[in-house]
């Protein structure tokens, strides 16, 4: 049996990679994918810890997260699509409407 901390270390690595992707990449699609990566890193932690403690709670929450992530993906991709239609770019540096 794989020790729980292995899962947690992997989860942390995946989360860090996701975070770096969100912060450093400029393509909005990639950023979006990185967010998904972060979510799934957390999912991994949940199931690992659920296994570790012998509790179903973590596994339950994972289903919630997956359901929400699916919805988010639909909405998020629709937004990116609309942004591309109006601005003709998905480069995060050029999307600075919030600069005011």
């Amino acid at each position: 049996m794989v020790p729980t901390h292995y899962h947690l270390i992997l989860s942390a690595l995946l989360f860090t990679i996701g975070t770096m992707g969100v912060l450093l990449r400029r393509n909005t699609i990639i950023i979006f994918m990185s967010v998904e990566l972060m979510l799934n890193a957390v999912n991994l932690s949940f199931v690992a810890l659920a296994q570790h403690w012998g509790s179903m709670d973590g596994q339950l929450i994972v289903f919630f997260v997956m359901a929400v992530a699916a919805a988010e993906a639909a909405v998020g991709l629709a937004i990116i699509l609309m942004v591309f239609r109006t601005k003709e770019t998905v480069n995060a540096d050029e999307l600075n409407l919030m600069h005011g």
Binding site: T19, V22, L23, L24, R26, I31, A92, D93, L95, N96, L97, M98, H99, G100
Partner: protein, 640 residues
């Protein structure tokens, strides 16, 4: 014990028509504001005096009804509960007793005559609607002042007359000097009002400390009668003196008399109504109304008497040399008000009110006569340019003659009866007998300056410019009629049994007999003053011509009114202006504006420093999130 018996018989009768005495002039106010400008001069001339006559009719009804009740009775019109706060109940309630009955008759009676006179005097003025608005409002305020059953209502009227005085003095507001005179009157009155308010607070505080929650005159009087120790001597003195400060402002006594002579900037009928017959008597009325309070403090009464006597002499000395007909009358008013205060100061409230009434008659007559002269002389006020008017203005001359003899105290006219009464009462007061002699000297001075005014204005030959002299005419009947009525009152008003009528209020009859010589001395002083003035100004024209020369010595001092205005300017006015300047430039501009502007500047600096953080780039914000979350997690894990 004799008072106890009258107190049992005395009744308080509830009526509901007293309110109309106040409401009618107020209706006039509304009419003059909203309706009159569309209807024009004829309607105004009808309504403005009409509402005062209506008020007079109600006042007369009240007087008649009161006369049928036993002495000491009163009529009360309780309109509605005005203020209810905890145990304090102040009603909007009007009350007519013997004292108020006299006052409302004077105010509406003399007031109606002056309104009628004004229709003639203001016939050539554009703004006659505004004029009568103020005049009606003034009458309403003054009536509220004397009818109010409690100190608060009195104060409402008190402020109202002050406001109207300001409005009417500055009636011709385009003239800077007249506008300033209005402001001066308002500000000087405000100084007195501050004292009045403090006195009222102190009285209320003292009563409440003893469980008496009231501001009503009758209830205060009853509380003092039932629990004599409720207000101690020292507190009573303080209350009375604070209220007296208010009276010195309103009734033009030393040291706050300075506004009254300047108040002559207003139209002459205003001077007659406000600054001679009614408003300035508010202070005397107030003290007479609160006589039960002043009786607690002989020292306060003594101070009132001393201030009064010094005012009488000071103002009379200034009046000796003035050449503006209205200025002479103005200082004469200040001086005569001093006599009234002398009357109340020696405890003879009835005599003070008696003189208030007769003075209202003949001083209103003097001012209206002066107004008639000014009207006829094409707005000339300098007596050096008058003279010989008896031929051209016979009615004005004849009525002025009556008023002149009345104010000089010549028997059997009204001034003789009333002023002598005050002086006799002063003589009978052992502690204040000195003031009798001051009063006698003042009577002589009064006779001198009034005779000087009379001789120079009406006798001799005319000294006006040719154009003016050509135009001199007798005034229209609307102006002459009030003069004649007032002349009759000035002649016979002294025979009214006013002191007896007021006895149930003040419980103070005639204190006793004085020696024959003492009784006649004021009259003799008056006769000497007239004779002296006749030899200087009547029999020869030399002194009249001498009036054009530059005044020197004591004459110069009097000509410049003892430099009181200059002294006030150098001390109080300059100091206040300096203080205001300091607060403006020091406190306001630097501290307050500095704080406000400094806060704004700090925010601006902070904003410009932090605005670079708003890039609009989502990833920068996300980085901030990450840093923040990381820091919080570290703090959570390692510190907590």
């Amino acid at each position: 014990m004799e008072h106890a018996s009258t107190a049992i018989q005395a009744t308080i009768q509830a009526v509901s028509y007293l309110r109309w005495i106040v409401f009618f002039p107020l209706i006039g106010v509304l009419f003059n504001i909203f309706v009159a400008p569309k209807l024009g001069r004829r309607a105004i001339n009808l309504v403005a005096p009409g509402v005062i006559l209506a008020a007079f009719a109600f006042a007369w009804t009240a007087f008649e009804q009161l006369g049928e009740l036993p002495p000491g009775s009163a009529l009360v019109d309780n309109i509605y509960p005005w203020i209810t706060a905890g145990q304090l109940h102040v009603d909007f309630s009007l009350r007519v007793d013997a004292l108020t009955a006299v006052m409302i008759l004077i105010i509406t009676g003399v007031g109606a005559l002056i309104h009628i006179y004004s229709t003639g005097y203001m016939a050539h003025d554009e703004d006659v609607a505004r004029y009568f608005t103020y005049l009606n409002l003034f009458t309403a305020s003054m009536l509220l002042l004397v009818l109010g059953e409690n100190l608060l209502l009195l104060f409402v009227g008190w402020e109202g007359v002050g406001l109207c005085s300001y409005l009417l003095i500055g009636f011709w507001y385009t003239d800077d000097e007249k506008a300033s005179a209005g402001k001066k009157a308002f500000i000087v009155n405000r100084v007195g009002d501050a004292g009045f308010l403090l006195g009222m607070f102190l009285l209320f505080w003292t009563l409440v400390a003893n469980g008496v929650w009231t501001l009503s005159f009758s209830e205060i009087q009853r509380a003092i009668a039932e629990h004599p120790g409720i207000i101690s001597g020292g507190i009573a003195t303080a209350i009375c003196l604070l209220l007296f400060i208010g009276a010195t402002g309103k009734s033009a006594q030393v040291p706050l008399y300075v506004w009254l002579p300047d108040a002559m900037a207003g139209p002459t009928p205003v001077s007659a109504l406000i600054h001679a017959a009614t408003m300035v008597t508010a202070g005397i009325y107030m003290i007479a109304r609160l006589h039960f309070l002043y009786d607690l403090s002989p020292s306060a009464l003594a101070i009132v008497a001393y201030v009064a006597a010094s005012t009488a002499i000071l103002a009379a000395s200034i009046a000796l040399v003035q050449t503006d007909i209205k200025k002479v009358l103005a200082y004469s008013t200040v001086s005569q008000l001093g006599y009234m205060f002398l009357g109340v100061g020696v405890g003879a409230y009835g005599a003070g009110i008696f003189y208030l009434m007769t003075h209202a008659f003949f001083k209103a007559l003097l001012f209206l006569g002066a107004g008639s002269v000014i009207h006829g002389m094409s707005d000339e006020q300098d007596i050096r340019k008058m003279g010989g008017l008896w031929k051209k203005m016979p009615w004005t001359f004849a009525t002025f003659l009556v008023a002149w003899l009345a104010i000089c105290g010549i028997p059997p006219l009204s001034g003789y009866h009333s002023k002598d009464l005050i002086l006799e009462e002063a003589y009978l007061n052992q502690h204040l007998q000195l003031l009798y002699w001051v009063g006698v000297i003042g009577a002589g001075m009064t006779a001198f300056y009034m005779s000087r005014l009379f001789f120079v204005t009406f006798l001799g030959h005319n000294r006006a410019d040719h154009d003016v002299a050509h135009h001199i005419h007798e005034s229209p009947w609307s102006m002459v009629f009030p003069l004649v009525v007032l002349a009759v009152l000035s002649f016979g008003g002294g025979n009214l049994p006013l002191v007896h009528w007021l006895e149930p209020i003040f419980h103070h009859g005639h204190a006793g007999e004085v020696p024959q010589m003492i009784a006649w001395l004021p009259t003799v002083a008056g006769a000497v003053g007239i004779a002296l003035a006749y030899f200087m100004y009547g029999a020869t024209t030399k002194a009249v011509e001498g009036m054009n020369t530059e005044p020197v010595g004591i004459h110069n001092l009097l000509w410049n009114k003892w430099y009181v205005d200059e002294i006030y300017d150098a001390t109080v006015v300059r100091f206040t202006a300096w203080l205001a300047d300091w607060f403006w430039k020091g406190v306001d501009t630097q501290v307050i504006d500095g704080t406000v502007n400094g806060t704004a500047r700090l925010m601006e600096y902070w904003g410009s420093a932090t605005r670079i953080l708003q890039t609009g780039n989502v990833q920068n914000y996300a980085l901030s999130f990450l840093v923040g979350v990381t820091v919080i997690l570290f703090l959570g894990v390692y510190l907590w």
